[in-house]
């Protein structure tokens, strides 16, 4: 009977977890030091915000390294990484050094456990090569180039998926790199008039990212973006009458102003509303003045709002927590 069917439902919760579980819950954290509570998987969009020099690109690099490494032994995601470098700060040697550090650590662990040692060297080289083959890097010098690069990576994504190794992470280093350029472009309103203003560019970017995420079902595509602070903490901009940006910011400001006030300093949110609605997680990084020889960084999750602030330092194998 219909009522009976309606009461019984389509599947039990156990079946549903069995269906989608491996895709979301079976994944190791990308940056274990900062992800003790927050778990990231393919349907999330993470924004890492902070002032210049606060280890945002380093965070993205560590996450990318963890994603490239294979599952066995390294606890990685075994997937490809699409890296969009918008501010030219990527260093391939640092990536190689991080991968080598992880491989050496694993080799040492295997040696200590008394397993086979002869194939270690070639094994390590093999792992390094497969990891580097899965890393794709694009450099863009304007918003238009970025949007066209996103469009052309659709084919790439589909091709990689048919080969078996799909892309798991899409990294954008500094989503705010062209902020001032886009803001100085003249704003033309209206839905049928695509413009290269900040709103138009961000709308196109978000549209492309959603499209790419749709294409990478069922594993999903985790989007991680870093955002550098444009305004220093005591800056007051009285100049933005143009383009109605202020109105938009004010409307959505309530949720994000609460975020920033909790963190104790006024981080002024300057990205347009369409981007602010797209992100699901926000992490705030800060660098502290060091008294010794090492620089301390602090991390705080703004969304989901966790109250504790982690302090960590950086070395080749990852972030090391210091406040435990």
């Amino acid at each position: 009977m219909e009522v009976e069917e309606w009461v019984m439902g389509h599947e039990t919760a156990q079946n549903m977890l069995r269906r989608i579980g491996p895709r979301t819950t079976g994944l190791a954290p990308l940056v274990p030091a900062l992800q003790r509570i927050v778990n990231l998987h393919g349907r999330h969009v993470v924004e890492v915000a902070g002032a210049s020099g606060s280890a945002k690109s380093e965070f993205l690099l560590q996450a990318a390294v963890k994603c490239l490494l294979p599952k066995q032994g390294y606890d990685g995601w075994d997937g490809g990484v699409l890296w969009f470098d918008l501010d030219g700060h990527f260093d391939v040697l640092r990536l190689v050094r991080l991968l080598q550090a992880h491989i050496h650590q694993e080799a040492r662990r295997r040696y200590e456990e008394g397993n086979e040692e002869e194939d270690e060297m070639e094994d390590g080289e093999q792992v390094l090569e497969t990891c580097m083959e899965r890393f794709f890097y694009t450099r863009c010098y304007s918003s238009l180039e970025f949007i066209s690069a996103l469009k052309s990576s659709r084919n790439h994504l589909l091709r990689a998926q048919t080969c078996g190794k799909g892309f798991r992470i899409l990294v954008i280093d500094s989503i705010a790199a062209f902020y001032w350029l886009d803001r100085s472009a003249p704003f033309k309103g209206g839905a049928g008039n695509p413009s290269l203003s900040l709103q138009g560019a961000m709308q196109a970017v978000v549209r492309e990212l959603k499209e790419l995420r749709k294409l990478s079902q069922p594993t999903g595509l985790l989007v991680m973006a870093s955002k550098c602070n444009i305004y220093s903490s005591n800056f007051s901009d009285t100049n933005d009458w143009a383009s109605g940006l202020r109105k938009d910011n004010r409307q959505v400001d309530s949720a994000h102003e609460k975020d920033s006030r909790r963190s104790g300093l006024q981080q002024r949110e300057f990205m347009p509303a369409v981007w602010q609605e797209f992100i699901t997680h926000r992490l705030l990084l800060q660098s502290k003045v060091a008294d010794g020889t090492e620089t301390l960084f602090s991390a705080e999750w703004l969304r989901p709002a966790l109250l504790n602030v982690d302090e960590f330092t950086i070395n080749d194998t990852g972030f090391m927590l210091t406040n435990r």
Partner: protein, 249 residues
């Protein structure tokens, strides 16, 4: 070529590094501070107060690269502080021997060659600067490299802040500053130049000087060095940003 074996490993990805060379500077401590020298593909910023030696360091770097690496150097001078006589003295010091008698045969030729490979440009405004940088990018991109000719390896912009500060303020000013930053990075990455720019300092919070030109410019260079002169000696500190590792004092 310190990083060449790592480069072989990295050849599997789509990055565009063929060789990465570091230009070794004369002062050993500066080399050590920068972990090998000025890298191609990066923008290095020298920050310092007035008369802290920024122009001297720039000229020394230009002399060293022109003489040792046999490469062309572009020196963009925006504040009329370049002095050819001082440069020739520095080159004389590099070639060896202060006394004319002590110099070996052909040293004058070497100095002359090195001087010829340092191109000096005087630009005092942001728009000529942007058009010059774009033109340089086009010229270097279409240049066919032959074995005898020298390639430009280093670009120095002495006092980038003196062309940017007058126009900074409001949205169009920031946009021009960002576009200058983008073209400098494009030159560094695509034409394989090491770019060295200088910046002056302004008063920050607590009395500590901070680099001028604001937060947006702070994110632009990859490496930043703070120069402070201590009356008798010249102290060099590396601060703020270096994306491969953090260096402190």
């Amino acid at each position: 070529m310190r990083f060449s074996n790592e480069c072989k490993n990295a050849s599997g990805n789509r990055g565009s590094w063929r060789t990465i060379s570091s230009h070794r500077l004369r002062e050993v401590h500066l080399d050590k501070l920068l972990e090998g020298g000025l890298r191609e593909g990066t923008v290095t910023e020298l920050v310092g107060g007035s008369s802290s030696g920024k122009t001297q360091v720039c000229m020394q770097v230009a002399a060293s690269v022109a003489y040792r690496c046999r490469a062309m150097v572009g020196f963009v001078d925006t504040c009329h502080s370049f002095s050819a006589t001082r440069l020739s003295h520095m080159l004389g010091g590099l070639v060896g021997g202060r006394d004319a008698v002590q110099r070996r045969v052909g040293a004058a030729d070497e100095i002359g060659d090195a001087m010829k490979s340092i191109m000096h440009y005087s630009i005092f405004d942001i728009f000529p600067m942007l058009s010059f940088l774009n033109q340089l990018h086009t010229t270097l991109s279409v240049q066919v490299q032959s074995m005898e000719e020298k390639v430009m390896r280093l670009l120095i912009v002495d006092c980038a802040s003196s062309v940017i500060s007058p126009i900074l303020g409001g949205i169009p000013g920031h946009a021009l500053m960002v576009s200058m930053g983008i073209i400098l990075k494009k030159l560094a990455l695509e034409n394989h130049l090491a770019v060295l720019i200088t910046n002056h300092t302004v008063g920050g919070e607590g009395g500590h000087p901070k680099p001028a030109l604001g937060e947006t410019w702070k994110a632009m260079p990859s490496v930043r060095l703070l120069l402070a002169r201590d009356f008798s000696s010249n102290l060099c500190h590396a601060t703020v940003m270096k994306h491969t590792s953090m260096v402190r004092h």
